[in-house]
Subunit: 626 residues, 2 copies
């Protein structure tokens, strides 16, 4: 088999035993890799209703055929398990060196099961896999942990996933942290590591990955690299990182501000990637083989928010928004300090910011007072208080313990009408994309398999002037405020190919935001060159649909139905200020989009459950939902 | 002034004094930079007839406006002085970090004059310039010297030019060595360093270089990077280094073999860049800001020619040919060992290989015997003997002392008809390009200002299907064996723009061989974006002609006339074997090309001396040649 190794490494932390299984090329082809392999495994191995933080949960690291194949962006790995934050399908993705380490050791999938009694880490060096003591690392920040482990294993270039104390303390949105400034951030899979007393995983492999057509792969690599230098989106990423898009979002009035009340922020210019480039940026950083280098490294040596240490990188777009505009904070040094703390403690920045924004709005409304917040004055723009809250969440100290549960549970406990200000779907805090200005994304928030998520489809502006009509089945231009059936079809189709991207192992910054080569027809070209398969675009789109439907089935088994496919109250209120002022998503709009969506998916429209027929058409006949 | 600093740093080694002078933007614009500034300075400051190895000679390091400006390939610096090998205009170019170090310290030109009594090195850190003791470094190889100096000055990233013992021993073709595997190789300027007891120069600057139009420079950078990934030539350079062109030259029958007797080598496949990639290559290496990474790093740990140490890089095209096919040697490990020794001792590889090839042919013909060669059996393909000869040359040991004088002087001393086998022009050993298969290059060998040189013009195949007609004034395709006036015109024009490239500070691999953006119209676009000038293509070509004519005037002042513009006997004999078999350059062809050349240049056809009128037209009226 080219591209994939066909091997699964299983590590049981209860008894410390490791084993290797194989899977067939037929199975690989059916599920592509990554996300597809992960859902197929977790569906079969996880019993419904288990506690995500109990030893029955499993954590899967899954790679796709493109990982380490020599294509820019072939570095993204997927982590999956049952989410402690949402109780349903949990998934997060991260770029960096870890995919190389695992794949070049000969594995496509790592399954961590059981739980250790005392802290451990896993060290994977080709065929040698060890569970090692981590008692001396417990309590340490992510960067220090990573660096000590590299020293212990004796490879300066070992790839390490290393958790900070937020994961140990089971913060429900703890991230899986890699290189101390990359994260598989969402859905709290870092807490699953914490619950298993798994402090870190280190990997270093010495195999080289064989591809079916090396000349073609080389040619594609070159084309993609060349395109990345003449493409406006990748050039913005290269110059200013993801936060380089802040001015565009501000201009469109869709920069989430003050807990999503507004889409324009008066301090936008001060928190943009452009501002970062001019002030505290020390360098851009690239993942292996990447010509874009969108990662930021910043340093703050002076002032009230110093130090911000370069080993913790710098904020991306989600971070400057969730820790900046969403809190009314316009001090870049404070944002970077919070970003650093989230990375050091292993907290998801989006959920962290969203929880603090919720608390600030409750504070403004008098639902919370200084008595609830340990005396912290949680007013909009109070950077000192926000920085303090990050630490309190990570350490579950005082009011931090409440917010460490996530915004849905916090609102349920606080009550007193605070639920109105909890901006989440299925328990996952909404990320920094305003659906009232991109209504197709609103639908996606409602139906996405991991809850309120912006990474499960293209966004509306991407399909405003579609150049990919054959793949999305839509011939006409679709406005970002459009909610027609055509729009629903387009969103659904792009969500299928996003599932496929997440199964390939490709970076979303390059292949999606960056708009280099991201059409399915191009992805299929890459896939076939690497694997030697003869995938068609249709087959590729069907594989994406299979994977999405399979994840939906996982959620249905956990109790999810149409009633859960909804939006928070905030998005049904008019947006305040700016060019998108007054927009909202009505119940009727959402209902109409949902009806169309289920119909197009071939699901039962009343319940939102995939029909037996559609499951069979997709090769998932073995999935029984009734 | 943008691009250039307008400052000259002068260091006198006799008294250890340093000073700084400025030059005007008007002067910069007239001479562009680099080569233009160097000839203007050396014409005025060097007395005719001086000993190149005496204290009256000066060594100039000159940068152009593009150096360190942020464009790929903006790293090439020029070294100039009176050549100890040829007694005329000496010039060599080298890429790497040194241009950055000098320019970011605030200087465009470094002039080293006088001579020290004991070994010294120069340390340039912005405004602080010191002449430091180097007694403890004398005798050491280049890499060790460089690394000790970096430690002494306390900057791991200081850029260092460091000489090996070949320069100390005044080998007449000693190279100026940088990073231990880059070299301003030709015309023996390393021996000028040796004669001044100057072991090394280290530089580290902290200024940033301001360009006139940063957005335009950024845009050009991106276009060039993108082009470099979809251009066949740069892709070959990236994958296999310069030696990746060996198969092409072999196919055309112009791979110099056995002292230029043949243009096909039966071992070509074994010495190609492709063979290197498959065997001993450990990595490609890039100069700052370069997307191509054509430099090779190889390692040999076993066998009779081990060790080949990675700090000495790996062979480029000129090296695999001059130390391989030219000697009938097909062992890549032996070639790499010789390449390493040349780098360690600071010897020009082309001259070294050419001298050994000369000796091998003399040995074959019985002109030399074991008695002359200290018992070494200098037969074709004897790799052990060739490796030994490199060391003997560097140390001027026995017969090595003879070859250390260069092939012209060696033949003169040996006599006995050996002159027939000395393949040089004006004392400079011919590089690895067969002029009988590219006759325009034959003309250039005859007239080039630094003697037999392949770097003073495009080569005939470049203009076989010209896409740059406006610049070269030729509308029709010109075959590489053509010797018409049209061909002469084309060669002359390309030599003007090569002089201009060498004044800009741009890498020839990218902008010439690599064929990215190398037309004058593109170079002018870069130049204007960096400097804010409004150069036209015509003005740019005129500047190139001005610089070439100025260098010719320098040579005329040293006694050069038409009689010296000739070719070695070898090229007037038919080439043996392969697709170019039987080709030669006749006296008549050369005479006819010379007549056309002088006429086109506006020089006196009888003497080859630039006329007063042409000098005046070019703004060189102050140059008096009669």
């Amino acid at each position: 088999m080219y591209g994939l190794n066909g091997r699964i490494l299983r590590v049981n932390l209860t008894d410390g035993r490791t084993s290797v299984e194989t899977f067939s090329e037929e199975e690989a082809r059916k599920y592509i890799g990554g996300k597809g392999l992960a859902i197929n495994l977790l569906w079969r191995e996880l019993k419904p209703g288990i506690d995500p933080l109990g030893s029955e949960n499993k954590l899967v690291f899954a790679l796709g055929p493109i990982n380490a194949a020599g294509i820019p962006g072939d570095v993204r790995f997927l982590v999956a398990g049952k989410s402690p934050l949402t109780g349903i399908w949990g998934e997060a993705n991260c770029s960096g060196w870890f995919a190389d380490g695992l794949k070049k050791s000969g594995y496509d999938v790592l399954v961590v099961e059981g739980a250790s009694e005392s802290p451990v880490y896993i060290w994977i060096k080709d065929d040698d896999v060890e569970v090692k003591d981590a008692e001396h690392l417990w309590g340490k920040w992510s960067a220090e942990t990573e660096s000590l482990i590299r020293e212990e294993v004796g490879y300066r270039d070992a790839a390490v996933v290393a958790e900070g104390p937020g994961a140990e303390n089971l913060v429900r949105y703890a991230a899986v942290t890699h290189t101390a400034h990359r994260a598989a951030g969402r859905t709290g899979l870092g807490a699953v590591m914490g619950s298993k007393k798994l402090k870190a995983i280190a990997a270093k492999g010495s195999m080289s990955i064989e591809v079916a057509d090396p000349d073609k792969v080389n040619e594609l690599r070159r084309e993609i690299v060349a395109q990345s230098f003449v493409n406006d989106m990748t050039n913005t990423l290269r110059d200013h990182g993801q936060a380089g898009f802040v001015p565009d979002l501000q201009n469109d009035g869709i920069l989430p501000t003050r807990n999503f009340r507004s889409g324009v922020f008066e301090g936008a210019d001060k928190i943009s990637g452009q501002a970062m480039s001019e002030t505290i940026l020390t360098k851009g950083e690239a993942c292996p083989r990447c010509p874009v280098a969108c990662k930021r490294v910043v340093e703050v040596k002076e002032g009230p928010f110093a130090p911000v240490l370069p080993e913790y990188g710098g904020p991306e777009y989600e971070n400057v928004a969730s820790l900046g505009s969403l809190l009314g904070i316009e001090r870049l040094d404070a944002i970077c300090r919070m970003n650093m703390l989230c990375n050091a403690y292993s907290l998801d920045t989006i959920s962290t910011g969203n929880c603090i924004a919720f608390a600030m709005e409750c504070y403004e409304k008098g639902i919370l007072t200084g008595e609830d917040t340990d005396g912290l004055e949680l007013t909009w723009g109070n950077a000192e208080a926000a920085v303090r809250m990050v630490e309190k969440i990570a350490l579950r100290e005082g009011f931090g313990d409440m917010l460490a549960e996530g915004v849905r549970r916090a609102a349920q406990r606080i009550g007193r009408g605070s639920e109105r200000f909890a901006v989440e779907v299925k328990g996952l805090e909404i990320p920094m994309h305003e659906p009232r200005g991109k209504k197709g994304l609103g639908l996606m928030y409602a139906v996405s398999n991991r809850g309120g998520c912006h990474m499960q489809s293209m966004h509306d502006p991407d399909i405003e002037s579609p150049n990919m009509a054959p793949e999305i089945g839509v011939e006409t231009a679709l406005h970002r405020l459009d909610t027609s059936r055509e729009k629903v079809l387009a969103m659904k189709k792009t969500s299928d190919w996003t599932a496929a991207i997440n199964s390939l192992g490709l970076c979303s910054n390059i292949y999606w935001w960056g708009a280099v080569h991201y059409r399915p027809v191009n992805l299929v070209e890459i896939l076939n060159a690497v694997t030697g398969w003869d995938y068609t675009v249709e087959e590729f789109m069907t594989a994406g649909e299979r994977i999405n439907t399979f994840c939906r089935a996982f959620n249905v088994r956990e109790g999810i139905t149409r009633k859960d496919d909804t939006l928070p109250p905030r998005f049904m209120e008019p947006l305040e200020g700016g060019p998108t002022e007054g927009q909202l998503i009505t119940e009727e709009e959402l209902d109409s989009m949902l009806n169309d969506y289920y119909e197009i998916c071939g699901w039962d429209v009343e319940t939102g459950v995939p029909t037996k027929e559609r499951l069979e058409e997709l090769g998932l006949g073995f999935v029984k939902l009734q």
